[in-house]
């Protein structure tokens, strides 16, 4: 009849909170009470844990068991607490040395047979535990690779509850069974690996658009591609990740954490070092894009594309609410989902790429031949992309259909992704040097006021921009965006400051006029 204490982690968004798990065994009829705001999956833990303990050849105490999860006010969900609760009960019933599980973080689901099962969110959980000074963590074997990504964590990977119990009694450190072969990729289109089979050189006849994609990759600018079907919009967007530089260690940890919480991380995949590419279908709901859900708050496509590319193909077909929900993360770089009990934050700093047909029948091009849509229909179709959203798109490209002759001609001039990626990496280097000591990494992230104060273009370079503003072609926000793109163009060509040429290019890209 005693009290035992151990630890686990509750996740709110991608932030982990250390939870103290206490088990008290008292005189009384056998029953188990779980207190501390558990959700349904966690309440079911009672029955799971009991079966797991009995099937691990341990004794289930025949008395009144009270399990408390504190802080009690924080809502807890999921099955990651199973192992911590089971160990606390075993320790309280003195089947394990009473103080042995103290100061260790347990994070795994239990099978009825006592096996440890992997759970989503191990990476942020281990980060939270080590930040609170608990360096020893026990996870399921399948999660071990993910947990070991945290540098100063001592990871104990176990196959079953009996192994953990033996270890806590002073036995050997558990040796997990060999992991099963890798399952296939999750079917959500967030895999960064498929980019490897693609190359920018495959997009023929769209040299302007290729250049625009390169500028966007360098400075992290949002892009919209407008053009008839078959012109190469989707091809271009899908090849944007192939020219992006790999993720820095801190960013990689952030991205991997988000994918860990979402459960889209393949076991054994390790740290995600390539920028993610996320292409949700146009029937996606608002919760699927920005994140949400009742009870369990999951990151949406915007967060899964953090530090990578969010590609909305057939953008006008998306619900208007869904598109407009992206405005706030585009501005703030994070999604805040507020619920009555808590507020979850997911980072969402992505490069937005929109692709759209010029009209519903998709036949309209500069010539206008074969298109039956009236100008009003066309306007209405593109009008579904709201002004405020388009105002946040820095680079707008109109693609023209490519003729056979152009394709043959262009074949001699296309550059491979590797060549372009090198130029992009060079531009990023300029950027990093210039932005050293500021919280920003990319041209697109610099706030307007700071841009005007610290990073002005060459004197006289803004004359054409001033004229465009006087004509009402460019808003004040648009002017800032143009200067940012001009900086990226300058970075790509190795100039120390953008001149009037770079500003002109940026204005043309902003207005989206075909040249």
């Amino acid at each position: 009849m005693a009290l035992a204490r151990t630890h686990s982690v509750a996740l709110v968004g991608v932030a982990g909170h250390l939870i103290e798990v206490e088990a008290d065994i008292a005189q009384g009829l056998p029953m188990t009470i779980l207190v501390g705001l558990p959700d349904t999956a966690l309440r079911e833990a009672r029955d799971r844990i009991r079966a797991a303990i009995v099937n691990s050849a341990e004794k289930w105490p025949q008395s009144k068991i009270t399990v408390g999860l504190s802080p009690a006010s924080l809502p807890k969900r999921g099955s990651g607490f199973d192992l911590a609760i089971a160990i606390a009960i075993l320790a309280a019933s003195q089947a394990l040395p009473l103080s042995s599980p103290h100061g260790i973080m347990f994070f795994a689901e239990l099978g009825l047979d006592g096996r440890l099962r992997p759970v989503p969110g191990v990476l942020p959980a281990v980060i939270a535990a080590t930040a609170e000074g608990l360096s020893t963590v026990v996870v399921a074997a399948e999660n071990a690779g993910e947990a070991r990504l945290v540098p100063d964590a001592r990871v104990i990977a176990a196959g079953c509850l009996a192994q953990v119990a033996m270890w806590l009694r002073g036995g050997p450190v558990p040796v997990p069974p060999p992991p099963p072969p890798d399952p296939p990729d999750p079917p959500d289109g967030t895999s960064g690996r498929r980019a490897r089979h693609m190359d920018l050189a495959e997009v023929l006849g769209q040299s302007e658009a290729r250049k625009a994609v390169e500028i966007c990759a360098a400075g992290g600018h949002n892009l919209s591609l407008l053009g008839p079907p078959g012109a190469g919009k989707t091809m271009l967007a899908e090849r944007l990740p192939t020219i992006l530089p790999g993720l820095e260690p801190a960013a990689a940890l952030e991205v991997t954490s988000i994918h860990s919480v979402a459960g889209t991380l393949r076991p054994g995949a390790g740290l995600l070092t390539e920028p993610p590419f996320c292409a949700p279908h146009h029937t996606a709901s608002k919760a699927a894009i920005v994140g949400g859900g009742s009870g369990i708050i999951r990151p949406g496509a915007a967060s899964l594309a953090h530090r990578g590319v969010l590609f909305l193909d057939e953008a006008p077909e998306f619900d208007r609410d869904v598109l407009d929900a992206l405005r706030q993360p585009l501005e703030a770089g994070e999604v805040v989902i507020a619920r009555s009990a808590m507020c979850a934050r997911f980072p969402a700093r992505f490069t937005l790429v929109l692709a759209a047909n010029p009209c519903p029948c998709a036949k309209w091009s500069s010539g206008g031949a074969g298109c039956g849509c009236s100008p009003a229909t066309r306007r209405r179709y593109l009008g579904r992309l709201s002004g405020p959203l388009l105002d946040r798109v820095d680079v707008k490209v109109q693609l023209q259909p490519v003729s056979r002759r152009e394709m043959l001609y262009d074949r001699g001039f296309t550059e491979t992704s590797a060549v372009v990626a090198q130029r992009v990496a060079g531009a990023r280097e300029h950027m990093t040097r210039r932005l050293d000591g500021t919280p920003w990494r990319l041209n697109a992230e610099i706030p307007g006021a700071e841009l005007r104060r610290s990073f002005p273009p060459e004197s006289g370079a803004l004359r054409s921009l001033d004229r465009a503003m006087e004509l009402g072609q460019v808003s004040a926000r648009g002017a800032d965006k143009i200067v940012r793109v001009a900086w990226s163009v300058a970075d790509l060509s190795g100039k120390s400051r953008p001149g009037s040429d770079e500003v002109s290019v940026a204005i043309a890209l902003w207005l989206g006029v075909p040249r």
Binding site: Q27, G28, L29, P30, Q62
Partner: protein, 118 residues
């Protein structure tokens, strides 16, 4: 008589012996009314105690103590009041105890006694 009833009767007999050895005074056994049955009615010092006896031959269908659920505890409390009313006696303290008896191979019982359950 079925084997399970024999087991139950033997168990109750063992429980009575155990309670007497603990200093309980047995007032009544197998008292029935419209609401149900009380296995043992006893007094420990100045406390009126209603005892439920559960006897099992093994734990294949759960331990004897687990077999006493919330509904059963609530009924025992009601029955305690029924007994007191029927006999016109008043006590300041009323308690419900559960005795779980597990039949051993040798013929004896292991007894688990949980006091004050309801």
């Amino acid at each position: 008589m079925h084997a399970k009833d024999v087991l139950g009767r033997d168990g109750e007999q063992a429980a009575v012996k155990y309670l007497e050895s603990c200093g309980f005074r047995i007032l009544d056994r197998n008292w029935r009314c419209a609401d149900g049955e009380i296995d043992i009615v006893a007094v420990e010092r100045h406390t009126f105690v209603v005892c439920e006896v559960k006897t099992r031959s093994g734990t294949r269908y759960g331990t004897p103590l687990e077999a006493v659920g919330t509904a059963k505890r609530r009924r025992l409390r009601r029955l305690a009041v029924c007994w007191l009313n029927a006999h016109g006696i008043r006590f300041d303290q009323i308690r419900i105890d559960v005795l779980g008896l597990l039949h051993e191979g040798t013929g004896g019982f292991t007894i688990e006694h949980v006091r004050g359950v309801g």
